[in-house]
């Protein structure tokens, strides 16, 4: 390889590594701002910005959903399997909302209850036909659900 090309090659590698290092430092600096939501555990630890609106993510606790029969108001609990936070919401829930489902709610914490202004459903990365899911349940196994939990540690 002639010296000129070698120099160009080194410059090129330097550009890529330099951009990579700059991006890595920037992303580490903004680490917290890049989180789309906080988990109940993070809220309990005081890592969430509770003084202003933020997003809370977790799984809807089984048996915790209570709907007001006369309005759209609904109350339920969100968990990351460690901590739990009660959520109140008055509005239309996404179709995927159900007990055990991953949910991201936008709102603020008032007197220990999270009052949500928007509720989004998070679906998982598993795709299977209903028959397969039924077969797994019939065999006594657990249908794989969202990885929300593992990623939040």
């Amino acid at each position: 390889m002639n010296p000129k090309r070698r120099k160009l090659l080194i410059t090129t590698i330097f550009i890529v590594l330099g951009a990579g290092a700059a991006a890595a430092f920037a992303l580490m600096a903004f680490q917290e701002n890049l989180l789309y939501f906080y988990s109940p555990l993070q809220v309990a630890k005081g890592e969430a910005p509770v003084s202003r609106p933020f997003r809370l993510g977790g799984l809807v606790v089984h048996g915790s959903v209570k709907r007001d029969p006369h309005s759209l108001a609904v109350a339920f609990e969100l968990t990351d399997t460690v901590e739990k936070i009660g959520v109140r919401y008055d509005g239309i829930l996404p179709d995927l909302f159900r007990e055990g489902q991953g949910i991201v709610a936008n709102g603020s914490l008032t007197d220990g209850v999270f009052v949500a202004s928007e509720v989004l459903a998070k679906h998982d990365e598993n795709y299977m036909p209903p028959e397969v899911a039924d077969a797994i349940k019939a065999a006594g196994g657990a249908v794989p659900t969202t990885h929300l939990r593992e990623r939040q540690n």
Binding site: V16, A19, L34, P129
Partner: protein, 247 residues
């Protein structure tokens, strides 16, 4: 030996002829794969246990997302080879890839929005995955704008290669965004350590579509590289002969 082979096929006239021969074959393979893939995706593959029929947009969304990143890596790689080894053909490949890559990125964002509304309950959120994919679209558009803004082709190719190489850092960010940060977007289904988390009856049409998207890119690339070569070599005798009515 390796260098000689490259020199032979990188010779503009040979590359022009070869690309012209390959393009229709890639085109026919694409048509076959996309028809078969769509048939399998829409009629043969079962509904999803969680998302019902809505999940079927995955068969467009995921191949488009893979291609948006793959084409970018090809573009940056070709740009780097053009920059260091002064292979003009690679400059042409980089330049010819940008519009197709931009279209794949746009398709990824649009199909994602159409999927997000019924499933998540929103068209768009500023989470790390969606935002980094949007940045990819801006990188492509910036590259295209840069090429259009510089008249001298050598200078444009060099500037474009540097831009593409700096932007390459975004590719691992897109892929790992769903693991590094809490996002609304779900984690990877296919490319992950535990193996694919998708039933085989859904995986097959997905892979058929992905290969079809790849051959589509190659078919379009061949045609666009031919245009780039003609433009690059417009003062050479063989292009003049071609323009004068030769074959």
């Amino acid at each position: 030996m390796f260098g000689q082979a490259i020199d032979k096929y990188a010779a503009p006239e040979n590359a022009y002829t070869l690309a012209g021969r390959l393009a229709p074959w890639f085109g026919w393979v694409t048509m076959f794969l996309l028809l078969a893939g769509l048939w399998d995706s829409l009629f043969l593959a079962p509904a999803d246990e969680e998302q019902g029929e809505s999940y079927r947009i995955i068969f467009l969304h995921v191949p488009a997302a893979w291609m948006s990143m793959f084409v970018y890596v090809v573009m940056a790689g070709a740009g780097a080879v053009g920059l260091v080894w002064k292979v003009k053909l690679m400059d042409a490949v980089a330049r010819a890839s940008a519009p197709t890559g931009a279209i794949f990125t746009f398709l990824t964002l649009i199909t994602g929005m159409l999927w997000g509304k019924p499933m998540w309950g929103t068209w768009w959120v500023w989470d790390a995955r969606l935002t980094s994919e949007l940045i990819l679209l801006f990188l492509y558009l910036g590259y295209i704008a840069l090429q259009a803004a510089i008249d001298d082709r050598r200078t444009a190719a060099r500037a474009g290669a540097v831009l593409a190489l700096v932007g390459v850092v975004n590719i691992p960010i897109i892929h790992y965004s769903v693991m590094w940060w809490n996002t609304l977007h779900q984690g990877p289904t296919i490319v992950r350590a535990e193996g694919p988390a998708i039933h085989i009856s859904m995986l097959i049409p997905l892979l058929v579509m992905a290969i079809g998207f790849t051959t589509y890119y190659l078919a379009v690339l061949m045609q666009q590289v031919r245009c780039e070569i003609l433009e690059q070599e417009k003062n050479s005798s063989w292009v003049r002969a071609l323009a004068a009515g030769g074959k």
